[in-house]
């Protein structure tokens, strides 16, 4: 009888409780000011220092089903984005709590599931107005750094955004009505007259009007559930919508040409100036206070751009970066070094003396360099017996035979340097050192490929495969020298650097004197690097520092407070299964508030962690204050943007950015953030919809004897 069955769906859902308590551990990892944690193994008294959600979850012992799913979710996010895991972990906890509260109030599961996922979708669409294309970010950042008065470029920014993104239209209208903001805009577009400009601003609405009418052809008023844009609902806007219909019939054909005109004009003005320093600043704005990482990243960007000017490759290539961790040097010694830097033993380092200033012949091997090694998929024969007819002196020296034949091969092709992906046979290593051949093991695939490309070496699996065309040339090896020009001798291992003329590979040498921080520094570096990478591949970023979450909050608040109108009910019907409609509308506002509470907790914890607020309660009050003002303002996105521009709202990363002055902008990754939200909600809803845990396997007696045996039924 190897199967047990546990009913998890009491009013207090066990799975959700597990999730929320696990996530509680990650609260202080949220935001730009993270506090590290020690994780102590009680049996061995060993401890590790962690500072990210991935490492936290990795080092916890997760046996429960919910814990396993949590781990799986976080690993998936880590694998794809390398960032956003703390957000993910936190929201999982916050939303689990929120859903538990809904269950307490007897909200049916199906209603929670459908309203929450629709709510999140609607938010993801709504926050699109806070995204900026990388091109515009470059301009924005550069104009800030070049001239302190950033006013012009920002208003310019608005116009551009509005054309790219129809939803933002409303707040542009607002800005235009304020005279002091119109003036700089006009000074930019001096060739155009006012009316024409207005027409342009209206024209994106043409697209929007059509979209709304597509969804619901008969209704006068589009509901936010359908359009995904909450700003259109107040009565004054209704007029403008009809206006847009007018334009949609009249001005449709002008639309595309005008847009391209306008953009062309914008990009012409300051783009050349900006490209130079844009990526560096973007890297900083995305890093949220990780200073060492940013400095390294900035020099990588500068170096890669220099190369790109010769070869016209892409701006930032994450595949061409490797890290090398040096323990024992102060952190200020971290730097970027072209080529491949790695640690070798002192014996190997002695070989390097002979190599100074010489161009070496290089060999790449994609397996182990041992006698026993065979390629993957090779089955060793088990039933072969070797007999020796004439016993001779060779007996017992088969290993030596292999060693000398391998060495002969290496010598005959005059190889000086061998990079091996796997392990290297100790004896062969010794022989090679004696013959001044440097063999380095455990080299990653990417590094092998990079060397293969510039030296035209082709990687081989066995030395017996070697022919002249496989061996590359032109490599240079030297001891790695720190920035003060001295070679390092860090006791057991010696850093060496291997270069080839024109190799795109860069090594970020990370140094620290504290051993337990090593992993942490490496993780942080990669996080910054991947943020920049994803920002460039998304081609867009979010305005950071909580703007996105605040807009979500205000959007949800509006959805929740909206009274149910007949058309609205129809709208709901379109989205859900018809038999769910009644219950869904009934519980809508409760569930939406639960969704909003997740983001509110997120913001307040970030504010508390960054010491922007003395307590989480104070943070909440300040958020509520801003929400109220945003709601009164009529257009929340406009309010939020304005406040963030002024720096009045809670701004993240103030401590870390103190050196750079208050003008530094903060951006967030687009896909990483929304995906983290979605994954978090998916997991919570998945666990919520689970009503039973079925345990298969032979642990029946264990379960019967444990204290929770009463919860189980056996089949």
């Amino acid at each position: 009888l190897p199967m047990a069955f546990r009913d998890v769906n009491a009013r207090r859902h066990i799975g959700l409780q597990q999730l929320s308590s696990l996530a509680l551990a990650g609260r202080t990892l949220l935001g730009p000011m993270k506090s590290c944690k020690f994780i102590v193994d009680e049996s061995t008294n060993q401890s590790t220092l962690i500072c990210s959600a991935v490492r936290l979850i990795e080092s916890l012992d997760l046996t429960g089903a919910a814990g396993q799913l949590l781990n799986e979710t976080i690993q998936a996010q880590n694998k794809e984005f390398n960032t956003g895991m703390s957000t993910l972990l936190f929201l999982i906890g916050a939303w689990s709590n929120a859903v538990l509260e809904c269950l307490q109030q007897n909200v049916p599961v199906s209603a929670i599931v459908s309203v929450m996922s629709e709510g999140l979708n609607s938010c993801c669409e709504r926050v699109q107005c806070l995204q900026i294309s990388i091109h515009d970010v470059n301009k924005e950042i550069c104009s800030c750094s070049v001239k302190p008065n950033a006013f012009k470029s920002i208003t310019c920014q608005i116009g551009c955004n509005s054309l790219l993104n129809p939803q933002i239209f409303l707040y542009v209208q607002k800005d235009i009505s304020a005279p002091e903001e119109v003036i700089p805009r006009n000074s930019h577009s001096h060739q155009e007259d006012d009316s024409k400009f207005n027409e342009r601003l209206l024209s994106p609405l043409a697209g929007f009007g059509e979209r709304a009418s597509l969804v619901k052809p008969t209704g006068e008023k589009s509901t936010p559930m359908i359009s995904g844009s909450g700003g259109i609902t107040s009565s004054c806007n209704k007029q403008k919508l009809t206006h847009s219909r007018y334009f949609s019939t009249l001005g449709r054909s002008h639309f595309s040409s005008q847009q391209s005109n306008f953009q062309g004009y914008l990009s012409g003005s300051s783009a050349d100036l900006c490209e130079c320093c844009g990526l560096e600043h973007l890297a900083m704005a995305l890093s949220h206070g990780n200073q060492t990482g940013v400095k390294l990243l900035q020099s990588i960007v500068a170096y890669q751009r220099e190369k790109a000017e010769c070869s016209s490759s892409s701006q930032f290539n994450i595949a061409e970066i490797v890290t090398c961790c040096l323990l024992g040097l102060p952190e200020s010694f971290s730097c970027v070094s072209p080529g491949f830097v790695t640690l070798v033993s002192p014996e190997q380092a002695t070989v390097i003396k002979y190599f100074e200033d010489k161009l070496l012949r290089i060999l790449l091997m994609d397996g182990d360099l041992t006698e026993q090694y065979r390629h993957l998929g090779f089955n060793r024969p088990c039933n072969v017996r070797t007999v020796l007819e004439h016993p001779s002196l060779l007996e017992g020296r088969a290993g030596d035979l292999w060693l000398s034949s391998m060495l002969d091969i290496l010598r005959s092709f005059e190889v000086n340097l061998v990079l091996v992906k796997g392990n290297v046979c100790e004896n062969l290593m010794e022989r090679c050192i004696a013959n001044s051949i440097l063999v380095i093991g455990s080299v990653t695939r990417d590094v092998l490929c990079a060397f293969g490309e510039v030296t035209s070496a082709q990687s081989v699996t066995y030395l017996t495969q070697l022919n002249a065309s496989c061996v590359g040339s032109g490599a240079q090896v030297g001891l790695w020298k720190a920035c003060d020009g001295r070679a390092m001798d860090l006791g057991e291992l010696v850093p060496v650097s291997i270069k080839v003329e024109g190799i795109p590979l860069l090594t970020a040498v990370l140094t620290t004197t504290v051993a337990s921080k090593m992993q942490l520094i490496e993780d942080q570096f990669w996080t910054s690097a991947y943020r920049l990478h994803h920002a460039l591949s998304d081609k867009k970023v979010f305005r950071g520092g909580g703007a996105v979450e605040l807009l979500c909050l205000s959007h949800i608040q509006m959805l929740a407070e909206k009274p149910l109108q007949p058309e609205n009910k129809n709208a709901v019907k379109e989205f859900h299964n018809p038999w769910l409609t009644a219950s869904v509308t009934e519980y809508k506002s409760v569930v939406l508030r639960a969704l909003a509470s997740g983001w509110k907790q997120y913001l307040s914890v970030v504010m508390f962690n960054t010491a922007k607020a003395a307590s989480e309660l104070e943070a909440r009050t300040s958020i509520d204050h801003h929400l109220k003002k945003a709601a009164e303002c009529g257009s929340p996105s406009a309010y939020i943007l304005k406040e963030f521009r002024k720096g009045n709202l809670f701004r993240a990363g103030s401590g870390a950015f103190a050196d750079y002055g208050e003008d530094v902008k903060v951006y967030d990754n687009l896909a990483a953030k929304t995906e983290a939200w979605r994954r978090a909600l998916d997991l919570v809803l998945l666990v919520l919809q689970t009503d039973a845990e079925i345990i298969t396997g032979p642990q029946r007696n264990q379960l019967l004897n444990s204290h929770i045996s009463s919860e189980f039924m056996f089949l």
Binding site: F378, T690, G697
Partner: protein
């Protein structure tokens, strides 16, 4: 001498259906299944209780696959439902719930079982006759000339699985993809016995669902071939690519490990002779102007190197599941020996390309007329992907 344990005396249980333990188990099982049913059905977490993989599902095939039921009658029940699912891949839950319900209800009637059997058989035949007759109102003719009905059908299947965690947009996207994939498998020249082609599902985990696509032809994952360089393929005289398909291992290890020992004199390497044989095969492939070699298993690095030097693309570890569609698509016969190579085994392809999705590189084989297609299916995490599949 070891003592043999005396066998336990056989135990006869009469009227097993009336026993309490059985009825408890049955009602528990039917309770589990009933709560899974429908688009708002609840999910089950299946795991081994010792930190193993957690399967979250509401699918009958997954549940029955993991369940190990001990009662013989329940075992008969689950086995027959599993057979039903493997035959029709649908309606597993319905069948199981119906079974459990019938047993439970009929048992409470207190009528002799042979009477019940007779009556229910008769009722079943009545039902079937009605459903098959033209008078039946439930039947909707499926119009294959328009996609509407087909789309609805696919969508209803997708939305009945809550563990997939799909939103509306994703469901729409997948529905269209699945239908497209189905269309690809319908042969364009209908012969007397039309056979549907194959649709291969290629897993891409960790990506968004909307990133899924359908491609005609086959995709084989190859981590080794860099995507940066354009692929140069040797073409034979009629501008098609000659392809050789091996279903035997070319890794250079000895033939299958059979019983008995082989005795070899010192100094003779079986490995070397095997490799020489492989290189002979390679030589023949070069002479026959083959452009692409695909092996189900592993190809020896030396042979790969040799083929590469002769501008032949070698793809290994294609896997057993791809072999049938590969040979169907290219018209080649899988070669099962590295000793006899007949030129009639070669197939042909229109084009070969390199595609990359989400950090995975694939060789994309494009046939002259496609009845085989690949559905690249993405989902955010493993749990959801498994359910989606």
């Amino acid at each position: 001498m070891s003592r043999l344990e005396a066998k336990k005396p056989p135990l006869f249980i009469s009227e097993p259906l009336t026993k309490d333990t059985f009825s408890q188990s049955l009602s528990l099982l039917s309770g589990i299944l009933k709560s899974c049913y429908g688009p708002a059905g609840r999910l089950k977490q299946l795991h081994n209780g010792a930190g193993g993989y957690v399967c979250t599902t509401s699918q009958s095939s997954a549940i029955f696959g993991h369940l190990s039921v001990s009662h013989p009658i329940l075992r008969v029940l689950t086995a027959s439902v599993q057979n039903h699912v493997s035959r029709f891949s649908d309606c597993g839950l319905f069948t199981a719930i119906l079974c459990c319900g019938l047993i439970e209800n009929l048992r409470s009637l207190n009528i002799a079982s042979c009477t019940i059997i007779k009556i229910s058989k008769h009722l079943l035949s009545l039902c079937m006759d009605y459903l098959k007759s033209e008078a039946c109102g439930c039947r909707i003719p499926v119009d294959f000339s328009s996609v509407e009905a087909l789309l609805c059908l696919v969508r209803s299947v997708l939305t009945s699985k809550p563990a997939c965690m799909l939103n509306k947009q994703e469901v729409d996207h997948l529905t269209v993809l699945i239908l497209k994939a189905f269309m690809f498998t319908v042969p364009s020249h209908v012969e007397t016995n039309a056979v549907l082609g194959k649709c291969i599902v290629v897993p891409v985990k960790g990506k968004r669902v909307v990133d899924s696509t359908v491609l005609p032809g086959l995709l084989i994952e190859t981590p080794e071939i860099p995507s940066a360089k354009p692929l140069i393929v040797k073409r034979s005289c009629s501008n098609v690519i000659k392809i050789a398909l091996f279903c035997v291992s070319m890794s250079g290890d000895l033939f299958s490990p059979e019983e008995g020992t082989i005795t070899v004199h010192h100094g003779i390497s079986l490995e070397k002779s095997e490799l020489n044989q492989l290189l002979n095969v390679g030589n023949q492939l070069v002479n026959d102007e083959v452009g692409l070699v695909i092996c189900q298993k592993v190809i020896h690095p030396s042979l790969k190197q040799y083929l590469k030097e002769n501008h032949i693309i070698a793809v290994d570890r294609a896997g057993l599941s791809l072999m049938e569609p590969l040979s169907q698509m290219t018209g080649s016969k899988p070669i099962a020996s590295i000793h006899f190579l007949s030129p009639s085994c070669y197939g042909s392809l229109k084009d070969v390309r390199i595609e990359s999705f989400a950090s995975k590189h694939f060789v994309h084989l494009i046939p002259t007329d496609a009845v085989v297609c690949s559905l690249l299916l993405c989902n955010r995490n493993e749990t959801a992907w498994d359910e989606l599949k």
